[in-house]
Amino acid sequence: MTAKLSPTQIAWRAAQDIADGAYVNLGIGFPEMVAKFQPPGRQAIFHTENGILGFGEAPAAGSEDWDLINAGKKAVTIKPGTAFFHHADSFAMVRGGHLDVAILGAYEVAENGDLANWSTGPKGVPAVGGAMDLVHGAKRVAVITDHVTKDGKPKLVQRCSLPLTGVGCVTRIYSSHAVVDIEGGRFVLREKLPHLSVDELQAMTGAAMIVPAAPADLIVPEL
């Protein structure tokens, strides 16, 4: 039995909730993996902040065109139906509520839906990119994250201690151990790893979860 889901597996789980034809923005890094796991028969249309809608997979090494990159500055490809546009139009799509889903990483998510994912505090160089726009733009903002930090501290918390990316914006968390919704300012457990008891999960979580009678099993293939 898996002790916890790998990032790849978390990405797989998040991908299962994306409808055919959905317009989706995936955050830089870990969330980008979600694109690989679209269920058969479904095709989402991916948006990247720097002005492409409907881009395709990474090109083969050596055939990159560096004018054709995503927000993470990785080379991508076009496919039938791709469109290019400038940054103001790109963020009109974001801010105007035209994206169906944005899936982002997180340092902390609070039970009130607050998200902290851009700054670990005053040290170092701050960088925000498009995250603050995405959290207030997409119809649904989901987070994919380890359930706890490397030190074992909860990332699902009562109130964020780090600088916020957005207020009350997250509605679903796909973690290494569970799928948790945010409703009415509370965490609501939807799915958990089968081997894990509710008490064990609650102990890893920084705020009390609402637990339905029988939370579904979080079952993800080996990847």
Binding site: D20, G21, Y23, Q43, I45, H47, L53, G54, I78, K79, P80, G81, T82, A83, F84, F85, A88, D89, F91, A92, M93, V94, R95, G96, G97, H98, L99, H136, G137
Partner: protein, 244 residues
């Protein structure tokens, strides 16, 4: 994922009483005549939709298209910049008779309010109309020593749009100055339906040439030889045609 609609009736089938409907075009160029006429057909057949709030730059010309929609009595209020035309008799008579409301908006403000609606900008400041009757009741703020009027976004339940090519994902191109308000209205409506001269497969439109990306479009319907308002009016057309 195919956004192709089977026919015009389906395209306008979801427009209900009291909705706000943006209608593209500037005068006749870019005016989705066939979509408008399909909406009139529904009204003639069912008595609905009515009490519409319509957003367009103008108020129609002659007795076809937007003028016919107004003449049919379907429009409660018009939001526009220039309700004059070569033949504005329909709107003029109804307005002077108090049968239709008018919200007059400077043209650039109208365009920007629609874009703001599509871009998630609830309000912005413009120098336009400062100190005039059209700024009455609106907040004014001074930036860098100059006075500006606060204007609010404009959104719609539906947009009826005319484009040139459309692929099945909703990516659009336009013909010359028929572009005008159409791309903006695509952005600002909860549901945008577009009549295109030809529906093509994804990939048929160069990604550089897409003017409206498909994310702003919910449905496309093919109208191969769209009528041009100017030509209908030169022929003294009416819609619906009057049986005499």
């Amino acid at each position: 994922m195919d956004k192709t609609l089977p026919d015009l009736a389906t395209a306008v089938g979801g427009i209900d009483d009291g909705m706000t409907v943006m209608i593209g075009g500037f005068g006749g160029s870019g005016a989705p005549i066939e979509l408008i006429h399909a909406l009139i057909d529904r009204f003639v057949a069912t008595g609905h939709p009515r009490d519409l709030v319509v957003v367009n730059n103008n108020a129609g010309n002659g007795h076809v298209g937007l003028a016919a929609l107004i003449e049919a009595g379907m429009v409660r209020k018009l939001i526009c910049s220039f309700p004059r035309s070569a033949d504005p008799v329909v709107f003029t008579e109804m307005y002077l008779a108090g049968k239709i409301e008018l919200e007059l908006v400077p043209q650039g403000t109208l365009a920007e309010r629609i874009r703001a609606g599509g871009a998630g900008i609830p309000a912005f400041y413009t120098p336009t109309s400062f100190g005039t009757d059209l700024a009455k009741g609106k907040p004014v703020e001074v930036f860098e020593g100059r006075s500006y009027v606060q204007e609010r976004w404009l959104k719609a339940d539906y947009a009826l749009v005319k484009a040139h090519l459309g692929d099945t994902l909703g990516n659009l191109t336009y013909r010359m100055a028929a572009r005008n308000f159409n791309p903006l209205m695509c952005m600002a409506a909860a549901r945008t339906v577009v009549q295109v001269s030809k529906i093509v497969a994804p990939g048929s439109i160069d990604p550089e040439a897409v003017i409206t990306p498909g994310i702003f479009v919910q449905g496309v319907v093919e109208v191969p030889d769209p009528a041009q308002e100017e030509m209908l009016n030169r022929a003294n057309a009416r819609y619906p045609e009057v049986a005499e």
